[in-house]
Symmetry: C2
C-alpha cells in the first residue's frame, strides 16, 4: 500500500482531495480486509491491531433497509439511528399508538415488538475471489458474454459458499470491476424494537436542520436481536466509552456506506449531472408532492405517509446538494484531470473513451429502464410483490447461475423473508403513490409511448391506480405465499390485477434490462476493470474502492471548523437543545416533546449531545458506531453537514464533517428523560 507524501497532504488539505491517485488526509472508506493501519498509525499514532479490526467487524451489523448499526450489549441490543428505525415505527403504529410521535419503550422483554421486515447481516469473513471470477471470462468473449460469464461464476461461488457454511454469501464487485470479494454474513431476522425517542427530538430541527450543523438531535434507536425466541448473546459487541469524544481524538466509523462515485470517470460524472440527477430530482419531487397531498387528508394519513415523506425530502435535499456540487465546474474538472493523468500513464487509454461512448445517447434507455425495470413507474410493495411472484415462477425452474441475479439460490431466503413479511400495506396510500408514478411515466415518456400504454392500459393514471389497488389481494402475506407457489400458467389465470400488470410489463422490462446490461453496464464494467488494473499497477491499491453497501472502516479526528467567518464547535450540549427550542418559541420543527420539557431540571445541560469528526462517510453510514482508539463507542453517526453533501464525488476535511449522537447523551436521555435505567445499565455494564 502506498501512503500519501507529506507535501501532497499539505496541498490537498487546503482544498478538496483529488478524486483518484494516492490516498490523503482522512479520506477513504476502507475494506475491512485491507485496513489503513499504517496510515492511521502515522497520522494519529494509533495502532489498530488485527484483533481490533476483527472485533469491529463482528460487532457491526448492516440493516436491510439501508442503514448501519452495531451490537451494544451482551444480550443482543443493537443500536442504529431513529431515521433507520422510523419505517418499523410507522409499521407498528396505529391511530391510537403513534410511536413516531410518542416514541417507544419496551418496559420488559415481553413488550419488545418484532419488526415486520428487518434483516440484520453481520459480516463473518471476506475472501478474495477475483481470480476465480476473472478466470471465468475467456478471450473470445465480447463484453456482454464476459458479463454473463462473471455473473454465472458469482452465483456459483455464492451457492457453494452457502451450501458449505450456511452463511449468506454475496460476491461484491469492487473498483467497478477491479476486484471481486466474497462476503459471508450471519443473518438475523427476529429483530425487536426496544426503544425509540419521539421523532420531534430524534430529528429536532426537521428538514431545516437536516444536512447541517450545529445540531441537537437524538437520532438513535435500540433493537434487540433474537434467535430461537431468545436474545442472542453476541461474542462481539461495542462497549460504550466511559469518556465522551474530545477535540483531536482519533475516531473510527464502522458501517456500510451505500455508494460513492469518486473513481468514476469525468464522462460518467457529466452523464450523472446532465441526465441522472435531473431525472432523480424530478422523480422525488413528483413523489414528495403526491405524498404531502395525501398526508394533508388527515392525521391518520399523515402518520402513515410520514416516513415516506421524510425519506423523499431527504433524497431531494441530497440530490439537490449533489447536483449543485456538480454544477460548480471544479469537481468535474478535477475528475477530467485525474482521468488524463492516469490515462496518459496507462496501457489502455481507450477505456476512458469506451465509458464515454457507452454513456453517450443512453439517456432514453436509462430512463425507460429506471421506469419499467427499476420500478419507478410503480413504486409500490404491491407491484414489487407481484413482480417477485411472477419472476419466481419464471426463474426457479432454471439452474441458480442462469437466473436473474436476485433470484440466485443464496439470496432466496432473504428475498422470501421480504416478500412474505407482515409489513402493513395501506390501499389508499398505494393508490396515491401509483397515481403519481403513472402520471410521471406519462410525463417522461409521453402519453402515446408504448410503455405508457402498456402500464396505463387506456386509463388515466388515477383510474388505473384505483383499478389495480382494488383488484389485488397482495396486501395479504398469506395471499402472497399462495401465489408464490403457482406456476406461470396458473398466475396468468389468477385474476389478480397487480399480477396481471407484472405479467404485462415483464417482457418489455426484461428486454430493457438486457439492453441496458449489454449497452451500458457490461462495457462500463469491462472498462472500469481495466482502469482499476491500471490504477493498481501505477499507484498501487492506495485508494479504497467506491462504497458498495458493504462494511467499511473510516477514520478521522473530532474537530470543529470555520464557516462564514465563524468558528463552529466540535460538539453541542443539551443546553443548545433547550436554547434552540426556546428561541423558536417551542414551535415545530424545534418543539420539544413533553418528556424533555419535564426532564429539563434533572438533566446536566453540559452533557455532550452531538459531535463532528473528519471521518469519511456517506448515505448508508446512518447508524454507524463511532469508536475511539480502544474500540469503545463514543457515538452513533447520523448525518453529515452541508459541506459534506458532495462526498459522493470528493472528500474535503476542511469543512466537511459527519455528525454523531454522543454516547453520553444517549445514556443521559435513557436515564433522565425516558426513565429506562435498566437499558442504560445494560449498555454501560462492564
Amino acid at each position: 500500500m502506498n501512503f500519501c507524501k507529506i507535501a501532497f497532504c499539505i496541498a490537498a488539505a487546503a482544498s478538496l482531495c483529488a478524486t483518484a491517485g494516492p490516498a490523503c488526509a482522512d479520506k477513504g472508506m476502507f475494506l475491512l480486509n485491507d485496513p489503513p493501519q499504517r496510515l492511521i498509525a502515522e497520522r494519529y499514532g494509533v495502532n489498530l491491531d488485527d484483533a481490533w479490526m476483527r472485533h469491529a467487524m463482528l460487532a457491526a451489523v448492516r440493516f436491510n433497509n439501508g442503514g448501519s448499526g452495531g451490537f451494544v450489549s451482551e444480550n443482543g441490543l443493537v443500536i442504529t439511528n431513529h431515521h433507520i428505525a422510523d419505517e418499523v415505527l410507522a409499521q407498528l403504529s396505529t391511530a391510537q399508538n403513534d410511536y413516531l410521535t410518542q416514541g417507544f419503550l419496551a418496559a420488559s422483554p415481553a413488550e419488545e415488538r418484532p419488526a415486520p421486515n428487518l434483516e440484520l447481516n453481520c459480516l463473518q469473513s471476506i475472501e478474495d475471489v477475483t481470480d476465480k471470477i476473472k478466470g471465468a471470462v475467456k478471450p473470445y468473449m465480447d463484453a456482454a458474454q464476459a458479463a454473463k460469464a462473471r455473473s454465472e461464476k458469482m452465483a456459483q461461488l455464492e451457492k457453494e459458499s452457502l451450501d458449505a457454511t450456511g452463511l449468506r454469501s454475496d460476491v461484491v464487485t469492487l473498483y467497478q470491476g477491479g476486484l471481486y470479494h466474497l462476503y459471508r454474513y450471519k443473518k438475523y431476522t427476529d429483530v425487536r424494537l426496544v426503544w425509540a425517542p419521539e421523532q420531534a427530538v430524534a430529528s429536532f430541527g426537521g428538514d431545516v436542520d437536516n444536512f447541517s450543523y450545529p445540531r441537537s438531535s437524538l437520532d438513535a434507536a435500540l433493537f434487540r436481536v433474537y434467535e430461537n425466541g431468545r436474545p442472542v448473546r453476541p461474542q462481539h459487541y461495542f462497549r460504550l466509552a466511559s469518556q465522551a469524544a474530545q477535540p483531536g481524538d482519533a475516531v473510527f466509523v464502522i458501517g456500510t456506506p451505500g455508494s460513492t462515485n469518486r473513481l468514476q470517470t469525468a464522462a460518467w460524472l457529466e452523464h450523472h449531472r446532465n441526465f441522472t440527477l435531473p431525472y432523480r430530482l424530478a422523480r422525488v419531487r413528483n413523489m414528495e408532492a403526491a405524498l404531502r397531498q395525501f398526508a394533508e387528508r388527515g392525521s391518520d394519513e399523515a402518520r402513515r405517509a410520514a416516513s415516506y415523506i421524510s425519506s423523499q425530502a431527504n433524497s431531494r435535499k441530497a440530490y439537490t446538494g449533489m447536483f449543485q456540487g456538480l454544477l460548480s465546474s471544479d469537481i468535474v474538472r478535477r475528475h477530467w484531470r485525474t482521468d488524463q493523468e492516469l490515462a496518459l500513464k496507462s496501457a489502455c487509454p481507450q477505456a476512458w473513451e469506451r465509458i464515454a461512448s457507452s454513456l453517450h445517447g443512453s439517456e432514453r434507455l436509462e430512463e425507460e429502464y429506471s421506469l419499467l425495470e427499476g420500478r419507478d413507474a410503480y413504486p409500490s410493495p404491491l407491484f414489487s410483490a407481484a413482480r417477485h411472484i411472477v419472476r419466481l415462477a419464471q426463474e426457479l425452474p432454471k439452474p441458480s447461475e442462469k437466473r436473474l441475479r436476485e433470484y440466485r439460490d443464496s439470496n432466496l431466503e432473504s428475498l422470501r423473508q421480504d416478500l412474505f413479511s407482515a409489513e402493513p400495506v395501506y390501499a389508499d396510500l398505494e393508490q396515491a403513490r401509483l397515481t403519481a408514478s403513472f402520471s410521471f411515466l406519462a410525463e417522461r415518456l409521453g402519453s402515446t409511448h408504448a410503455d405508457t400504454a402498456l402500464v396505463l392500459n387506456g386509463k388515466t393514471p388515477g383510474e388505473r391506480a384505483k383499478e389495480l389497488v382494488q383488484g389485488t389481494r397482495l396486501a395479504d402475506p398469506e395471499q402472497r405465499r399462495r401465489l408464490a407457489k403457482m406456476s406461470l400458467e396458473e398466475l396468468r389465470g389468477c385474476g389478480d390485477t397487480m399480477i396481471s400488470l407484472a405479467l404485462a410489463v415483464d417482457e418489455k422490462a426484461r428486454s430493457l434490462r438486457d439492453e441496458y446490461d449489454r449497452c451500458v453496464r457490461s462495457p462500463l464494467s469491462e472498462a472500469y476493470g481495466l482502469i482499476a488494473q491500471e490504477r493498481f499497477r501505477i499507484y498501487g491499491q492506495s485508494e479504497p474502492p467506491d462504497a458498495t453497501s458493504t462494511l467499511r472502516l473510516s477514520f478521522g479526528q473530532v474537530k470543529g471548523y470555520e464557516a462564514e467567518g465563524k468558528s463552529v464547535p466540535y460538539c453541542t450540549t443539551f443546553a443548545d437543545l433547550y436554547r434552540k427550542s426556546r428561541e423558536a418559541h417551542d414551535l415545530p420543527p424545534y418543539a420539544l416533546p413533553a418528556t424533555w420539557q419535564k426532564a429539563e431540571p434533572s438533566l446536566d445541560k453540559g452533557t455532550q449531545f452531538n459531535f463532528v469528526s473528519t471521518a469519511d462517510t456517506i448515505g448508508g453510514n446512518s447508524g454507524s458506531p463511532v469508536l475511539n482508539s480502544s474500540g469503545e463507542m463514543v457515538g452513533v453517526n447520523f448525518d453529515r453537514n452541508q459541506y459534506g453533501m458532495v462526498r459522493n464525488y470528493v472528500y474535503d476535511e476542511v469543512q466537511a464533517r459527519h455528525i454523531a449522537v454522543s454516547s453520553d447523551a444517549l445514556i443521559a436521555a435513557l436515564r433522565e428523560v425516558y426513565h429506562a435505567g435498566a437499558l442504560a445499565d445494560e449498555l454501560t455494564a462492564r
Copy 2:
C-alpha cells in the same frame, strides 16, 4: 347566432359537450357584447335585457392579480375571494399581526388598509375593431410581417383610445385571431382591505378539499375602492339577493375567466399534453418543494411563503387534473373529430396542418422561451423589476407601436404602478426561489447549455442566487424609481447585480421571443384566424371564443348531481361545517378558528353556505359574482369540483359544477361571527 337543436342537446347532455360546433347546454363564457339572450330565454324563460347586461358589466371588476369581483355597495365595497385577497393579506401581515391566520376587520374607514399593489379594472365599453386590425395586413406580407402589422395597429388604436377617453384601452384577440375587440376600462388603484376571514375557514379543508365538493368554505373578502382619498360611489353595484339560490334557479356568473383551450386543434392539445403540461408540472413541483422547505425554517418564514405555496399547490392540482384528463384519449379524440368535420367543410384545410407543423419540434424553443423570456428561470419580483427597468430604457425611445407590446403607451401607467408598488420583498425567500429556479434551469437545459452559463455565470445555483439577492437594492421602490429614470448606458454602470443579470440575458431572451413569435405564435395566429373565419361561415358565431382574461357571462342552473352512486346536494349549510370539523377532531385542515367555535350557538345552522351550479367557469372566475335573474348577487364563485378540472378542454353539465359562497352565509358570518354589523348593513341596504 345559431342555437342548438333540441336533439343535439339531449345527446350532448348525456356526455361531454363537443368542443367545437354549435353551442349546447349551459356551455359557454359569452362576450358581454354578444350575450346569449335568446338561448337563456329558451332554456330558462329568463329575459336578460340590455339594461341587465349593461348593469352587470359596469358593476363587475377585474383584479390585476388574476381574479374577479364586483361592486356590492353604494360606497364602493368590492367582493372577491379570500384566495384572491391572500397575497394582499400576506403583504400587510407582520410576525405580530398575521392576517392570513387571524383574519382582518377594519373597525372604521380609517382602519381600512391600502393594498400595496392592486389595480381594479371596470369595463366601460367594447368596440369591434376586427376590420381595422385585419386591414393593417397587406397581401404581400408573410405570417411574421402580418403579426407585426397587427401588433402595431393594436398599439396605435389603444393609444388613440387612451388619448381620446382617458380610459385603459386594450385590444383583445378573440378566437385565437378571428376577431379583435377594443376594451375600455375605468381603472382603480387605491383599493383598501376591509374584511377577510381567517384562512382556516376561508379555505376550510385546505388542499384536500380544493377542487372538490361538497364544500364548506367562506372563501370571500371585501375591499373598498377609493378615488381621491374618498370611497367611490359606483353608479352600478350588485345588490345582495334577499333569498338564497334554490335548486333549478337560473344563475349568471359575471367575471373574467383566464384561459380555455376548447377551440384549439387536436394537434395543439397533443402538444400541450406531450410537452407543455409535463413541463409546467415539473416547474410547479420544483417551486413547491423549495417553498415548503423554506416554510419549514420557522413560523415567520411559513407565513411569508404561505400564499405562494397555496398558489403552487393549486396549480399543481389543476395541471395534474388537466394532464390526467388529456391522458384519457376521449378529449383529444373529440377534438380530432371536430377538427376533421370543420376541415372537410372548410376552404382552407391546410390551416390545421399548419398548426401541427408549427408546433412540431418546437418543444425546445418553447422551453428556452419559457425559461429565459417567460422568466421561469428567475421568477422573482427583483428580476421582474430589473427587466422592466432595462427594457423601459430600451423601449421608451421608440414610438409606442414599435415597442414590445407591454411597453405601449396605453399600458405604461399600469406597468409603473406595478413596478413602483410598495409590495414587500423578502430577501431570504427570493434567494430560495431563485436557487430552486436556477437549478431547474440547469436540470432542463443542461448545465453546459449556453443559457445556463449565461444565468449562472460559473456559480452554483445557491451561490448565484445569494450573490444576486445580496447585490441588488431593487427591493426598495425608491431605488426602482431612480433606476427607471436611467439610460441604458447608466444602467450598465449602476453596479446592481440584478440589473446586470437582466442586461446579460436580454439579447438572448429577446431573440427567443422573436423566434417564438416567428416560428410558433405568428403562424398559429394566422392559421387560427382562418379557422375562426371558416367556423363563423359554416356554423355562425355560435360558440363563444376561448377565455381571454376579459369579462364574460356564463349561465346555468343551481343543481346537485350524482357521483359514485350517491346524490350530491346542491348546497351545504353551516351544519356541514361544524359536523366536518367535529369528525376531523377539529384538526387541520378542518380546524375551526376560535371565532367560529364561539359563534356556534348564535348561528342558524340551516343557513346556506356553499352551492353549486352548472354555469361554465374556469380559473380567473375566482371572485365572480353569481347573480339571479334580477341581477342580484346570490353568491360569489370560488372553485369548481373535480369533474370540472378538464373545463379547459370540454364542458360537461352532468357532474361538473362551479362552487360559490352563498350571500346568506356571508351576511350571517359578518353579523354573528365577526360582529361586523355595519358592513352587513351596508351590503344589505335597499
